[in-house]
């Protein structure tokens, strides 16, 4: 009873082409419909990817919006160097929301566990307000986390930056509804539908440069909660934790105090693609201490205005 029998799937449009087309469409919609977009840019692979797609979306014009970095003060130096070099190369304006400033003047207090990831929300919201940004691009992907799997591509936030998962606008066809009122802003996630493997295959195909710590390198590390942590001023080993030199790489790059490395000899992008394809752990499960706190850790942070 089949009207069209299974005709062979053979066209010029593969998965990466389709994902790229969708992402560029979203980026252009947001730029066309909003006054003051900004891209959250950490130097991590997902934000680097969104920036690359934005460059393609507007070529030969330059990217028509600035980038915003929420700086926890616990950064990998290689990533900050990469961030500055990238912004310089593309001729973009960099806005920085500094968690350290908030700690220095007492608006925020350091947490007992030392992690600064949950402290990013207030500087982020203030940074958005200071730049009068009505749309904020982010590199979040639905395959990262169960709560993110329910996030819209265009996600409305109230004046407190809150996400209300029970009252999301239905998202229909590829028609994105960006209506908002004064004080509200929209978070836009152009790579919602990409998986970690799609990201790496695309990085390989396009030859996109990333900070070096995504590739295997030797580093002083110690084992905590089943993850390899880098030895640094902000993440020292405790007396009972043995420090050793190991060949590792990072699958995600975030706050140094809560991002773990994985043992890996994947030194090139092709090696990484092979490694990810065979991995039995999700990237957040393997590398993010903060997402292990509870089943709803990400949902709670998102409701409070986090990405």
């Amino acid at each position: 009873m089949s009207a069209i029998d299974t005709i062979p799937v053979e066209t010029g449009i593969d998965t990466l082409d389709a994902l790229e087309a969708e992402a560029i469409h979203i980026i252009r919609e947001v730029v066309a419909e909003f006054e003051r977009p900004v891209l959250l840019f950490s130097g991590g692979k997902d934000s680097v990817l969104v920036l690359h797609l934005a460059a393609k979306a507007f070529w030969p014009a330059k990217v028509p919006f600035p980038v915003l970095h929420v700086d926890t003060g616990h950064n990998f130096p290689e990533v900050i160097e990469f961030r500055d070099r990238t912004v310089e190369r593309l001729g973009l304006r960099l806005e920085v929301a500094s968690v350290q400033d908030y700690l220095d003047d007492g608006r925020l207090a350091e947490r007992a566990d030392g992690t600064r990831n949950p402290l990013q929300t207030q500087p982020l919201l203030d940074g958005i307000a200071a730049g009068r940004h009505d749309a904020v691009f982010g590199g979040a992907r639905r395959d990262e986390d169960k709560a993110r799997a329910k996030e819209r591509i265009l996600s409305l936030r109230d004046e407190f930056g809150q996400w209300d998962p029970r009252n999301q606008r239905p998202e229909l066809w590829d028609l994105y509804n960006g209506r908002h009122t004064v004080g509200q802003h929209v978070r836009a996630f152009p790579i919602s539908n990409w998986t970690e493997l799609d990201v790496w295959r695309y990085i390989e195909r396009e030859g996109i440069e990333l900070p070096p710590l995504y590739y295997a390198h030797e580093r002083e590390v110690y084992l905590r909660d089943g993850m390899w942590r880098a030895v640094s001023d902000v993440s020292p080993a405790r007396a009972d934790e043995a420090v050793e030199r190991r060949v590792v790489r990072y699958r995600t790059v975030g706050d140094m105090s809560c991002t773990g490395a994985v043992e890996s000899d994947a030194a090139s992008v092709a090696d990484v693609v092979r490694e990810i394809a065979l991995s039995t752990l999700t990237e957040r499960g393997a590398t993010r201490a903060d997402d292990r706190i509870s089943e709803a850790a990400m949902e709670d942070r998102k409701k409070d205005g986090y990405f």
């Binding site: 009207a3 066309a32 979306a57 070529w59 330059k62 169960k146 919602s192 991995s279």
Partner: protein, 450 residues
């Protein structure tokens, strides 16, 4: 690897949808060790029944705390997996609460919909309703998974009864391309591999079928004329990208950026531009910094044209001769998703392609009875109703009937005050005088197009 396939899953309560989704993800190795461990731990804590170590697959897709606590699924969840042949995006649509809203959301972006039917119960009222939504939204492929066939001892006569009911319903609703598969999500029969337990079934397994169905874009690229709504005009005017080597030659660069909604464009093609209908020639196609000779849906490109046309966002570039008739009045079906009812005289916004215009809902022609698909008189449309309306627009829009062109016939109805998306709308032909004629005309139309 083949083209990406987006599909949605739907079913009534207890049809085993979560188990099916979990089975597909598990057997295609899309669930990784830490996710499985987390789900197994929670299953044990919550006292999930069954054998020791049994896993509540619903926990994989119920991403929100309220969902896990109440054991219900509130919202569409997106899952990703791939096989050696293809990558998939799965929109898991909850069945019981606000099923129309979730089904509509999942179906608008789907190349295929998998509807579960419990082999013991056959076609239920909710199955009919799910399939009615799928039919009205013209999802290209429909797969009916007749589940729990193991509980009927893999009985062929029992399956044949359900399959023939489904076939009759498919004809009645005008479903385009329908496949029926006997499965057991729990036991894994005909999910990934063909089962030895159903020797009387000679069709593909569910995954085999999903691996080979052509996506909507493949179908539309093949059969439709070029159409590209203009998102914005790219004019660098000195603000050039860092990698532009020869700045002088880009001084007067001007291109129309958009995503190809259907068809193929080639350099040298004659095209027409709405509004106005002026004819010109494509002189260049840019995809990022790469210049290409041709591009097809669903690519995002920038088109350079021979003549300086006064076109901006909202313009539509189409193949010569394919210019749609601009419309100020629309006949449309709307899937009402707003909490407040729609009444005649409502002022709304209509977003179609890259245009948003003010609109007035002049008439509610009727509400569709989802069991018979007939239109019945209605003074208002409530949440989850599907109705037929007439809309007057404040400006002309280059729409087409949804039945002949999905992307040109789809629109959003937006509340101008709250900004909320009130409805999914599709442009239809003017409804005939009697509801019976309408159902007949639609069923006939559905069979002749893809």
């Amino acid at each position: 690897m083949g083209a990406l396939l987006r599909f949605a899953t739907a079913g009534s309560v207890d049809d085993g949808k979560s188990t099916l989704v979990g089975r597909l993800l598990h057997d295609s190795k899309a669930i990784l060790a830490d996710q499985l461990e987390s789900v197994a731990r929670t299953s044990a804590e919550r006292g999930f029944g069954g054998e020791p170590g049994a896993i509540d697959f619903a926990l994989l897709t119920d991403g929100l705390r309220a969902e896990r606590e109440q054991g219900i699924t509130i919202d569409v969840a997106y899952r990703y997996f791939s096989t050696g042949r293809r990558s998939f995006i799965l929109a898991d649509c909850p069945g019981h609460v606000q099923y129309t809203r979730n089904m509509v959301t999942g179906a608008t972006t789907a190349d295929a919909v998998v509807v579960l039917v419990d082999a013991r119960n056959g076609v239920l009222e909710q199955t009919r309703r799910h399939l009615a939504v799928v039919a009205l939204l013209r999802v290209p492929h429909v797969i009916i998974a007749v589940n729990k066939i193991d509980l009927l001892d893999y009985s062929q006569p029992a399956y044949d009864t359900v399959a023939s009911d489904v076939a009759a319903l498919a004809r009645e609703l005008g479903l385009a391309d329908t496949h029926v598969i006997p499965v057991s999500a729990l036991a894994g029969d005909n999910i990934v591999d063909r089962s030895a337990n159903t020797p009387w079934y000679d069709g593909p397994s569910l995954l085999e079928l999903l691996e080979t169905l052509p996506s909507l874009d493949e179908l539309e690229t093949e059969f439709e004329a070029l159409r590209m709504p203009v998102q914005l005009v790219i004019r660098p005017q000195g603000a050039l990208a860092h990698d532009v080597a020869d700045a002088e030659s880009f001084r007067d660069y001007r291109a129309f950026a958009g995503r190809i909604a259907s068809g193929t464009v080639r350099v040298g093609d004659r095209v027409q531009v709405f509004p106005g209908g002026a004819t010109t020639t494509v002189t260049g196609i840019d995809a990022g910094s790469t210049t290409v000779d041709a591009a097809s849906a669903p690519r995002s490109v920038s088109l350079r044209l021979a003549d300086q046309l006064d076109a901006a966002r909202g313009a539509v570039i189409v193949a010569e001769g394919a210019l749609p008739t601009p419309r100020r009045e629309l006949d449309a079906s709307v899937f009402w998703l707003g909490a407040t009812a729609l009444r005649p005289g409502a002022r709304v916004l209509v977003k179609s392609g890259t245009s948003t215009v003010q609109a007035l809902v002049t008439d509610i022609v009727g509400r569709r009875d989802l069991d018979t698909l007939a239109l019945e008189p209605a003074a208002a449309l409530e949440i989850n109703d599907i109705g037929q309306v007439r809309v007057r627009l404040a400006a002309e829009l280059p729409v087409e009937e949804y039945a002949t062109h999905r992307r040109a016939g789809a629109f959003l109805v937006i509340d101008p005050q709250s900004g909320y998306t009130l409805a999914a709308g599709i442009v239809t032909a003017a409804p005939p005088a009697s509801p019976d004629d309408l159902a007949e005309a639609e069923a006939a139309a559905a069979w002749v197009s893809v």
